[in-house]
């Protein structure tokens, strides 16, 4: 490593060299991505077609998100300690003859500067021309981002290994929305106040990082303080009591999956609903009052409440395929691989876990959302719902049940679609499949945009749509049958599991068809119903689930 040879042999130099060495390729990618996205933005300015512009904007925005996330991961400077099952500051550095201040300062200063520069560069030259941050003071936003970055670092390092740790960090991140939007939300406030707030945040972040890390280094959490033992004693006795044994291997594996993967979606969704909704609501109210002067758009919040789990599930889906989130590779952990359970059995457990997760996430989010709407709203929403249907509010709620089941189903679908890819435990498969999926989705978006602009194309597409849907369905069923047969022959799946998966798919498709029939009837567009029904069957995962046992077998027996 020639750079390392030139770096002075100091502690700081060593730390920086290690950061560079570990994330060399990410930095190279970043250096490549910036000019590419810049070029995309410039090209967009010269383009006349809308689709091209939309695609390029998506590319640039996506590039920004990925670049920022990568910087966070790199300078976030956390490592997972497999033995003690903790995630935090690299423990191996605690033994070095270096002061805590220096350990803290290097990633914070270096990371802060790099992230700030990168953020400002992207925001100014790439995102601004696309229309983002219009009317915002870029410097203010950049500095709030810096505070957010430092807070994420500080909390990632200082928080003890307690349950819900990652949620606290997430909330700290989301909490920065408020200072970021301060100039807009409180325009009457003297700018001095918000700069003071920012300064306080900076100082607090640094102090937390410094004190927290020094406590961590002294091993304060190894010998939990009296506060923690008090908390342990107060914890509900249920978790400490001896439980009866599991009813079957399925239940045991489900318990494991739920504890490791299942709580992710309900937790995230519920917390966002609990904390972010009121913030957004209040901000909107403020903006609405200050800006247009009319009633704030109350319909946004209910819609967001309804679809939040579904949107989140797409992001959480890759985690569902893992068996142990701390395991770096996707390999089956040995204590699971040696259990006498068929590969199909593992798949069915995962599906059940995903269903539980979806149902609970929806339940938490909806009840929390409804709670906030009742508390914060001024009753206008309820008034609106009364007038929107002639059947009365009670009937509306009952009528919503199929809608809620539909949303749970869609959330579940998002969680398990493509689970076979993650189950193979091989990174190149995940990368390839992810890339392929992105290409397909991009192609689909392009097609739709083109059809929107070109009425002829739109007509041909619509004409061929029914046949295409039927063709997809046939291919799907054929592929699934083939995969099931392979699985049955290699006994990676039992006939019972095939029954569950196939039967579930049929039931789901029928439910969707029936529900869409109702809606089509209500809206009077019954001609589209066959297409929608077929699309329902196509959309629900079947072949994916058929491949899943084979994928696990490929992972388990290398």
């Amino acid at each position: 490593m020639t750079l390392g040879q030139f770096a002075k042999p100091t502690a700081t130099g060593a730390q920086l060299w290690e950061i560079w060495g570990r994330h060399k390729w990410s930095f190279v990618l970043q250096a490549v991505a910036f000019p590419v996205c810049l070029g995309a933005v410039q090209w967009k300015a010269t383009l006349s077609s809308e689709i091209g512009g939309a695609v390029l904007s998506l590319l640039a925005a996506g590039g920004f998100v990925m670049a920022y996330l990568q910087l966070l991961m790199c300078f976030g400077y956390v490592e997972a300690d497999m033995r003690t099952v903790k995630v935090g500051f690299p423990g191996r550095l605690f033994h070095k003859p270096v002061s805590t201040a220096r350990l803290v300062a290097v990633p914070m200063v270096c990371g802060g500067i790099v992230t700030l520069i990168v953020f400002l560069a992207w925001a100014n030259w790439i995102l601004r021309p696309l229309g983002a941050f219009a009317g915002f003071d870029l410097l203010w936003i950049g500095l709030v981002q810096l505070s957010l970055f430092w807070w994420l670092q500080a909390m990632g390092w200082s928080l003890p290994p307690m349950p819900g740790r990652s949620l606290v960090i997430l909330l700290a991140g989301i909490g920065h929305l408020l200072p970021g939007l301060m100039p807009q939300v409180f325009p009457e406030l003297h700018p001095g106040w918000r700069w003071l707030l920012l300064g306080t945040l900076f100082v607090a972040a640094w102090t937390t990082a410094g004190v927290g890390l020094s406590l961590m280094r002294r091993g304060i959490w190894d010998d939990p303080p009296r506060l923690m033992s008090l908390w342990k004693r107060l914890r509900p006795a249920r978790s400490q009591a001896t439980r009866k044994k599991f009813r079957s291997a399925f239940h045991a594996q489900l318990w494991l999956e739920w504890n490791r993967q299942g709580v992710l979606l309900p937790g995230m969704s519920g917390c966002i609903a609990l904390v972010v909704f009121p913030m957004i609501f209040l901000i909107q109210k403020k903006l609405g009052d200050a800006g247009s002067g009319g009633a704030p758009e109350l319909m946004v919040l209910p819609v967001v409440t309804l679809v939040l789990p579904m949107l989140l599930s797409g992001a959480v889906a890759p985690a569902m395929a893992k068996f142990d989130p701390l395991q770096p590779s996707g390999e089956l952990p040995i204590y699971i691989a040696v259990r006498p359970m068929t590969n199909g059995g593992f798949v069915v457990v995962k599906l059940a876990m995903a269903l539980l997760a979806s149902a609970l996430a929806c339940l938490f989010t909806w009840t929390t959302g409804a709670f906030w709407m009742v508390i914060l709203g001024d009753g206008s929403f309820l008034a609106k719902t009364e007038t929107s249907t002639p059947y009365g509010p009670v009937a509306l709620v009952i009528g919503c049940v199929p809608l809620m089941m539909l949303l749970v189903l869609l959330t579940w679908k998002n969680l398990v679609a493509g689970i076979g890819v993650g189950l193979t435990g091989r990174r190149w498969v995940s990368v390839l499949a992810g890339g392929g999926r992105m290409l397909l989705q991009a192609g689909f978006v392009v097609l739709v945009l083109m059809a929107k602009l070109n009425p002829e194309l739109q007509e041909t597409l619509l004409r061929w749509l029914p046949t295409a849907l039927v063709a997809f369905l046939v291919i799907k069923i054929a592929f699934a049958a083939f995969a099931f047969r392979c699985g049955l022959r290699r006994s990676t799946i039992t006939a019972g599991a095939v029954g569950w998966i196939g039967g579930g798919w049929l039931l789901g498709g029928i439910f969707l068809a029936a529900y869409s029939a109702l809606i089509c009837q209500a809206l009077g567009k019954t001609t589209f119903w066959p297409q929608i029904a077929t699309a329902g069957f196509v959309m629900l995962p079947l072949a994916d689930l058929a491949i899943a046992p084979l994928a696990i077998a490929w992972n388990r027996h290398r």
Partner: protein, 303 residues
Amino acid sequence: MKLPSPSSAEAVVAVSGLGRRFGDKTALDNVSVFIPRGSVLGLVGENGAGKTTLIKHLLGMLKPQTGSVRLFGLEPVADPVGVLSRVGYLSERRDLPGWMRVDEFMRYTQAFYPNWDEAYAETLRKQFQLDPKQRISTLSQGQTAKAGLLAALAYRPDLLILDEPSSGLDPVVRRDILEAIIRIVAEEGRTVLFSSHLLDEVERIADQVVMLQRGRVVLNGRTDDVRGGHISAVLAFAQPQTATPLIEGAHAVDGFGTEWRVLFAGPKSALAAVAAEIGASVVEERTPSLDEILVARAGGKGS
């Protein structure tokens, strides 16, 4: 107790001509191992010789590229449930879920095995002095090994596979584990396969020893026969030797001047003949320990 022939139906483990490569590296080369019911097989060899790879094949975690693997007459890859329900396994790195408590792990494991004996598990737990409420990530190395062993023993598996059960453990824990294994062997019909670097343990409790070197089986037989097939001797030459003498059949030749210590593979008569050929006489001979045999063969000095 004789070793079963390859076609013997009573072999609990029947590995035949197993071969496995990882890229360019040959991990296993034409390995054949047969373990009859009720016997204890000690698998020895240097680090990287292929012991863990062989064990992973037995559990179905690796697919055989050449040859076949059969446990209880079943193939672990084709029928994981049939095989794994009768096998208890303790891995080298223990590989227990750190986030679970000891009692949670026991409850989880119990659900998979109908033969789980709760009373026996409780006896073992008390004997191993494991606190059921303790999180596995906070257990010491010895306690983790004990917890893993407990989970593998409690359902009385027909075949117990232990990968380095004593590694990294203090002598007290090693004793406990050894006693637990012996108690299992004394029970009717249970078979044990264990790999170990502690060759005194292998000598104590193994009926059969298999030594792997660079993926090949270099020794396979009853413990006493393997030892009896080697001689640790001192050869005295008439003339002082300037370079290490080449002695046919010797695995380690070490010494200076006229006296050279040799670890020879073969009967006494063969040694005497070879010595006579090169103009030396045998002045001391005894049966070597397994430790000496392993180190000599692994060192690869001599011819």
